[in-house]
């Protein structure tokens, strides 16, 4: 026989219950708790329950939500991934307000909901003695219960006295609730069964996954989006008579910035002189162009040893050989325009000024890699 956890007295209406509370409270026979189908006004104050700390918790978490949202958005939009929108400064915060508001509400609401349920009321909990009582059917329907409950240790609780007190207070039915039997939770058998269950679940889901991948082909969703009225690479145009989708310029015209080079071999271009001055701005431009177009094959330092080239078996030129260092500026320019061996022409990708800027930058690389003693002074 387990100890008695509580003695429960049932009342027929809220008023009778409320009237019984002060007398029972004065007797100090144990913790007084009421169980009702709906909140009864004033009962919580009468029982001397402390004020709910929920509002404070919600306020703190709401503020935390606002700060989290603001901090995260600032970090993303101003630090980690600056994205200029509408010409605003990266740290302009006004546009972050809607998301701040939503996150504030999200944090605060879940604090209110789950904080109430879990932190304050300690639910879900299925082992409460009242749940096993005969009275619970009535409590969740239309009856009202007052319980005198044993304190934490259970010492000094006198069920008989509690019953007498409840009867005096007008309780219509009395029920003694045994303390819940505490069985060990994590037994060896439970752990073994859980592990076995997890293993079986993994196996079954793995087999289902394997089977479905084997049986079902990969279906491309929305593939008809790919059917578009356009000419794909290497596809003849049915619109133009010559079959080209991109038409050649009208005979005798030259596009801006695309004057014919005036030479047919890089050597022939050697006589050209670099028209750009060697200023930091030109160097920066050359560096940018070099790092965009040249670096994949020639390497950031111009050694011609990057992994991409190795993968394709090509041997891009090392720009630091004596031969290439001996080229006049114009010949490097000519190589960019016309290409050499496996290197294609970059005339379409680099404007005239860009090419000359690259030449300056290549010269700087060469000098840096082959520095003489006096360069350091």
């Amino acid at each position: 026989m387990s100890e008695t956890f509580a003695v429960l007295g049932l009342f027929d209406n809220a008023e009778a219950l409320v009237k019984a509370v002060p007398g029972l409270k004065a007797l100090r026979l144990g913790r007084l708790e009421a169980y009702t189908p709906y909140p009864v006004h004033g009962l919580d104050d009468l029982l001397g329950r402390r004020r709910s700390p929920l509002a404070g918790m919600v306020l703190v978490m709401g503020i935390l939500g606002a700060l989290t949202a603001l901090g995260f958005q600032l970090w993303v939009a101003a630090v980690d991934y600056p994205l200029v929108t509408g010409g605003k400064a990266p740290t302009s915060w006004q546009a972050f307000v809607p998301i701040m508001f939503e996150v504030t509400v999200l944090f605060a609401s879940f604090t209110a909901g789950l904080g109430m349920l879990h932190l304050l009321n300690r639910l879900p909990f299925f082992g409460h003695p009242v749940l096993q009582s005969k009275a619970i059917r009535g409590i969740t329907r239309d009856r009202f219960a007052l319980a005198l409950e044993a304190d934490e240790g259970g010492a000094g609780f006198d069920p008989a006295a509690a019953q007498a007190a409840l009867e005096t207070a007008g309780a219509l039915e009395i029920e003694w609730l045994p303390a819940p039997a505490r069985e060990p939770f994590l037994t060896a058998v439970f752990i073994q069964r859980s592990l076995a269950g997890i293993a079986v679940a993994c196996l079954v889901s793995g087999l289902i996954m394997y089977g479905s991948v084997q049986m079902m082909p990969v279906a491309l969703p929305m593939r008809h989006m790919l059917d578009q009225p356009r000419v794909d690479p290497q596809q003849p145009s049915s619109f133009f008579k010559d079959g080209h989708s991109m038409q050649l310029p009208v005979a005798g015209t030259v596009a801006r910035g695309f004057l014919p080079p005036g030479f047919t071999t890089p050597e022939e271009a050697g006589r050209l002189v670099n028209p750009l001055p060697r200023t930091p701005a030109v160097m920066a431009r050359g560096r940018a162009a070099y790092q965009t177009h040249c670096v994949v094959c020639h390497d950031p330092l111009g050694t011609g040893l990057p992994s991409l080239s190795a993968a394709y078996g090509a041997k891009p030129a090392n720009l630091h050989t004596d031969a290439i260092r001996g080229y006049p500026d114009g010949q490097i320019y000519g190589t960019i325009v016309l290409g050499k061996n496996a290197m294609p022409s970059y005339a379409a990708d680099l404007s005239e000024d860009d090419r000359w800027a690259v030449v300056h930058y290549v010269r700087a690389l060469q000098r840096a890699q082959n520095a003489k003693a006096e360069d350091f002074q």
Partner: protein, 466 residues
């Protein structure tokens, strides 16, 4: 307080006493036996017929969504310049439907409107279903739905983040917050009822489900104390949230420069419209529910009348918003905005604007008459008109504004395809299927809230001191 410490024994005259909101004698026990018995009963034949109809519509809609996934968005009518058509119209429409539920459950709770108790659960459920339906549309409309999770800011190997200054991203946050908070609010409201259901049910799967879902709720006063606090806090938070959600939806439009969209009236205008449309749908569903489920003594004529008054008030506000739009167009002295505004009621789509005004502003004026507020045919007429009108309003805002913007060479008319119309019908099918299932699986009326408000449920003032 009198010298004895008890309040004055105030005997209020009949008119000043708080009237009971139920008809006839309603006791907590009878309420339970009526409302909570529905989940245990086998539904009648007409329920199955209704479910068959809505489920067929739902199947049609989902099949067409599947067809869209297979073929691509090209099977919809959207094309330059009307890139946002049915996908966004339906999204805005359904999100709006949800707002009535939150208004009833949260805002009216804060205003201590006791009549909300009878209809709040039902309206909240409709909120959740409406937001679920609404959420479907942007997901399809993004074009590659299987990558829709890219909308969320999570660290990724692409090394990029979404743009937090974009209203479309605000939308993601607003709608997902709205859905999760509504669900939480609804679930917490259900908790005491689930406990009642748990105790009413014998053994079996349903007992197990109710036991788990009710979390071991006992109704202890120490629990009720936190519960009531949580409920009022959630109501306050949901009030701010519901006002923000449709405002954020309106930012999708108002923060662009499209003529007809770029207006400061948009956020309040959208919120009012949302509540307006939502009330109409809730009202229609309530009428059907109270007739078929014998709820006339709980959802009384008074409830319907109050709801009709809300509809009337919102209708007048909508009228004001339309006038304000016209004023903005005129006062802007911008010929494009003026042209767009005239297109609403004049040009190729003029019928849609005229229909909107008729349905949203003119017809609801019938509700000035008490007879119309209390008669089913008129109520139904107005509710259906409002539903149609509010859908057409979003059509006007989206399609008519987009089809003629600042670049006349890009002007082009829009036509929906059968797939568009089928998915629209399917969205109603999904919504009403969920509503029908809800009406039979969970308590449709918040019984614990009703019980607390029945006559004699609370101890009289000063009872303790007698």
């Amino acid at each position: 307080m009198n010298p004895e410490g008890a309040p004055f024994p105030l005997d209020l005259p009949e008119v000043l006493r708080t009237r009971p909101l139920t008809v006839g004698e309603v006791t907590p026990g009878r309420l339970d036996d009526h409302i909570l018995a529905f989940p245990a009963r086998v539904p009648p034949r007409k329920w199955f017929i209704a479910l068959a109809c809505t489920a067929s519509l739902m199947t049609l809609g989902l099949a067409l969504v599947g067809y869209t996934f297979y073929m691509g968005i090209g099977v919809w009518g959207n094309n330059s310049p009307v890139f946002w058509a049915f996908g966004i119209i339906n999204f805005v429409f359904w999100i709006g439907i949800g707002h009535a539920g939150t208004l009833i459950s949260a805002i009216l709770f804060l205003f201590r409107k006791r009549w909300r108790n009878a209809i709040s659960r039902f309206a909240e459920a409709m909120t959740i279903f409406a937001v679920m339906v609404a959420g479907m549309f942007p997901l399809i409309h993004v074009g590659r739905p299987w990558l829709a999770y890219w909308l969320f800011p999570y660290p990724n190997q692409r090394g990029i983040w979404p743009n937090f200054r974009s209203p479309l991203l605000w939308d993601v946050f607003a709608v997902s917050t709205y859905f999760s908070v509504s669900l939480l609010f609804w679930y917490l409201g259900l908790l005491p009822d689930l406990a009642s259901l748990r105790e009413r049910t014998g053994r079996g799967v349903r007992k197990f489900a109710y036991t788990i879902l009710s979390c071991g709720w006992t109704g202890a006063t120490s629990h009720w104390r936190h519960y009531e606090k949580a409920y009022v806090l959630l109501a306050g938070l949901a009030t701010g949230l519901v006002l923000s959600v449709h405002s954020v939806v309106s930012f999708d439009f108002a923060s662009s420069i499209v003529p007809g969209w770029h207006m400061t009236i948009f956020p309040p205008y959208f919120v009012v419209g949302a509540i307006f449309a939502g009330f109409a749908i809730v009202l229609m569903s309530l009428i059907v529910a109270r007739e078929t489920m014998d709820l006339k003594h709980l959802i009384t004529d008074f409830h319907l009348e109050v709801m009709n008054k809300v509809i009337l008030g919102m209708s007048c506000l909508m009228g004001y918003a339309y006038v304000a739009e016209g004023f903005t167009a005129w006062y802007s002295m911008n010929p494009f905005i003026q042209h767009t505004f005239l297109q609403y009621v004049w040009g190729h789509y003029g019928w849609s604007g005229c229909l909107t005004i008729t349905c949203n502003v003119l017809l609801p004026q019938l509700m000035w008459f008490r007879k119309c507020r209390r008669s089913y045919p008129w109520m139904f007429l107005v509710a259906i008109a409002v539903t149609v009108g509010m859908w057409m309003e979003r059509f006007v805002i989206i399609v008519v504004s987009l089809h003629h913007d600042y670049l006349p060479s890009a002007w082009h008319n829009y036509r929906p395809t059968l797939v568009d119309l089928g998915i629209l019908a399917g969205s109603f099918g999904i919504f009403f299927t969920l509503v029908l299932l809800f009406a039979r699986l969970l308590p449709m009326i918040a019984t614990s809230e009703m019980k607390a408000d029945l006559p004699g449920a609370q101890p009289r003032h000063g009872a303790i001191h007698e």
